[in-house]
């Protein structure tokens, strides 16, 4: 299926930004998407992602979260990622702080693709070795390349 590698650009990967909390992380990821892709209304996208968070946690466990929204602000489905060190509390059901965040935004009409990509990300992030590799990536390009290497 592929699809993660081309939708997550290296410039949309944030490594170890300082002084974080959940809202700041999501806001920064939305801004990265907006600067690299045709996101017409980043403020609305941010509000939609935060609204989606109220429905239920997007934390997968293992210190990973995949906040997401379907929005008319996005022309196509795109992804941004952040590695957080130290990890940040994102109200995970397991109570663990989060160190890997993938924000996904896609058009309303692409629900099936959105579901497939979410499921694929969830599967990949269940891998101990992948998470360890991502936590040790030295640059955004490395981080991106690690995702690409698993994006079969």
């Amino acid at each position: 299926m592929g699809g993660l590698c081309t939708r997550l650009l290296p410039e949309c990967v944030l490594l170890d930004p300082l002084q974080q909390d959940k809202e700041r992380v999501i806001r920064q990821l939305v801004d990265r998407l907006a600067s690299s892709h045709s996101i017409t209304d980043p403020d609305t996208l941010f509000e939609q992602v935060m609204e989606r968070e109220k429905l239920g946690s997007t934390c997968l466990g293992f210190g990973c979260a995949v906040p997401h929204a379907r929005t008319d602000s996005a022309g196509t489905t795109v992804i941004a990622a952040a590695r957080l060190n130290p990890p940040v509390s994102m109200d995970a059901p397991d109570g663990e702080p989060v160190s890997l965040v993938f924000l996904m935004a896609g058009p309303e009409k692409s629900a099936a693709l959105h579901l497939r990509l979410l499921s694929k990300l969830a599967r990949l992030l269940h891998s101990d070795s992948l998470r360890a590799q991502l936590c040790e990536a030295s640059t955004a390009e490395d981080f991106h390349q690690i995702i690409c290497s698993r994006d079969d």
Partner: protein
Amino acid sequence: MKLLVFILNNEEYLEEVLEAYVEAGVTGATILDSEGMGRFLAYEVPLFADFKDFMKGNRPYNKTILSVIRKEEIIETLKTLLDDKVGDLSGPGTGIMFTLPVDWVSGLVPEDEEV
């Protein structure tokens, strides 16, 4: 001999479906409560909680009917009867029916002792 599997999405038709089974000559079946993947994901897995609208129109719960069919001609008869009762299964959200070959069986009640 075949295993006939029918996933009936509209549970309201269950009685009529079973009547069709009996009329077609199916002498026994097992009915399981089941649920669709979409319902489970949207309501039980928080990551997919925002996809409830995506499954609108789908029926969350369904019935799965299992039956071992000795005479394969029964399946054609049954299909005709079911088309009349629940409609063409190619319509979305109606159901799925398929058969699998059965090469061994134990525990089937002889036909003349069933029903």
